[in-house]
Amino acid sequence: MNTENLIPLNKLCIYYKVELSFFSNLSDIGLIEIKTIEDSPYVHQDKIDVIEKMIRMHHELDVNVEGIDIVLNLLSKIDDLQNELTLTKNRLRLYEK
């Protein structure tokens, strides 16, 4: 199978100095999708943004996997609210001189 656009998890473990179990825990609660090809685990390159974010939360803020799940949900809610606010502000321009 083609491993293009996939990053081997082992590489990420070494690079970020995290245990493989951290990634399996993230996968267990559905935060990342691990693809196994010829017995090696991979993640998709497009997910690297959010993976790095999760590693930072874990390393720099001591947030556990469940906490990361909660933070990401709240961030996504903030994002929705911010988009709604932008739309509302744009509409408000209609009534402003």
Binding site: Y15, K53, L61, D62, L87
Partner: protein, 302 residues
């Protein structure tokens, strides 16, 4: 160059122990961490500030130097002079384009810190995690509403690199577009970062915009409103002739289908233009006009 009170920044007193400092830093980091405060420049500034304070106060050597000289740091004058000269040579903004980098850890120390510790200190706090993917860049592009009426190409300079962008017609104020791979280089073969552009669109026209519909108010003289006739009104990109029906009331709205703003990424599709008539009542009437209006009034009253 201003003195920075690192104790105040970490909200600890001067006798704080290493444990107190660590605790205070962690608490503030949880509040201002950029991952928890996306697109919040104030939080980013605070985070840099607390990191700097932590680098100084969590390192015994740095803390000692700071406690000893801090407030009376001697290089202020000469440093200030050199800094001013540098700023003088810096160019202004171009193209309404304001670039700013995403948070990258390291760098960005205050003048005070750099003068006292000369850039990043050894040891200190725990610092940021290594990054594999290149740094994402954020930038804001200021455009006039007229400029986003048509799809156009524009060259902008981000971090000294010229980037040719296609700006699709109908892009909305506050909209963010992501351009993959235009951020910083990845490390160790990691993917490149992305460029995020936020559009700030200002409207200096007589049209108001709601999503992709335009709104405008058109003056209509009393006689045309009563008797009907033809008028020419401005659309966003030209003029159209309209037939005014006899007996048109003040505030009447007319919808001009397809004369609104282009719909983002739907080439050839436009919103509508809504025109509201504002009837102008004649003032400073001549005697003859008054006579005639009075006569009309009588006709109506009888």
């Amino acid at each position: 160059m201003a003195f920075i009170d690192y104790y105040k920044i970490l909200e600890v007193d001067k006798n704080a122990t290493d444990v107190d400092i660590k605790k205070a830093y962690r608490k503030l980091a949880r509040k201002y961490h950029p991952d928890l405060n996306p697109n919040d420049k104030e939080a980013e500034r605070k985070f840099k500030e607390i990191n700097e304070a932590n680098e100084v106060l969590s390192n015994a050597e740095n803390r000692k130097k700071y406690d000893q000289y801090g407030e009376n740091w001697a290089h202020a004058d000469e440093y200030e002079k050199a800094k001013q000269q540098q700023q003088y040579h810096r160019g202004g903004q171009q193209d309404g384009f304001q670039g700013f980098q995403g948070f990258s850890g390291g760098g960005d120390y205050s003048d005070f810190f750099e003068s006292m510790f000369g850039g990043r200190s050894a040891g200190g706090g725990r610092g940021r995690s290594a990054v594999y993917k290149g740094q994402d860049l954020n930038a804001e592009l200021h455009l006039d509403l007229k400029e986003v009426y048509t799809t156009h190409k524009r060259t902008v300079t981000i971090n000294g690199k010229n980037i040719r962008l296609t700006i699709p017609a109908g892009v909305e104020n506050g909209q963010v577009i992501k351009i993959s791979g235009l951020g910083g280089e990845g490390a160790n073969g990691g993917p490149k970062g992305d460029l995020y552009i936020t559009f700030a669109i200002e409207n200096h026209t007589n049209f108001k915009l709601d999503h992709h519909n335009l709104y405008s108010t058109v003056d209509l003289d009393l006689y045309k409103a009563i008797l009907g006739g033809e008028i020419t009104v401005d659309t966003f990109d030209g003029k159209v002739k309209l037939n005014v029906k006899p007996g048109t009331q003040n505030g009447t709205k007319v919808k001009l289908k397809g004369k609104g703003f282009p719909i983002y990424k739907k080439e050839g599709h436009f919103g509508d233009l809504y025109i509201t008539y504002q009837i102008l009542i004649p003032t400073q009437l001549t005697e003859r006009e008054k006579e005639l209006f009075t006569e009309l009034h009588k006709l109506r009253a009888s």
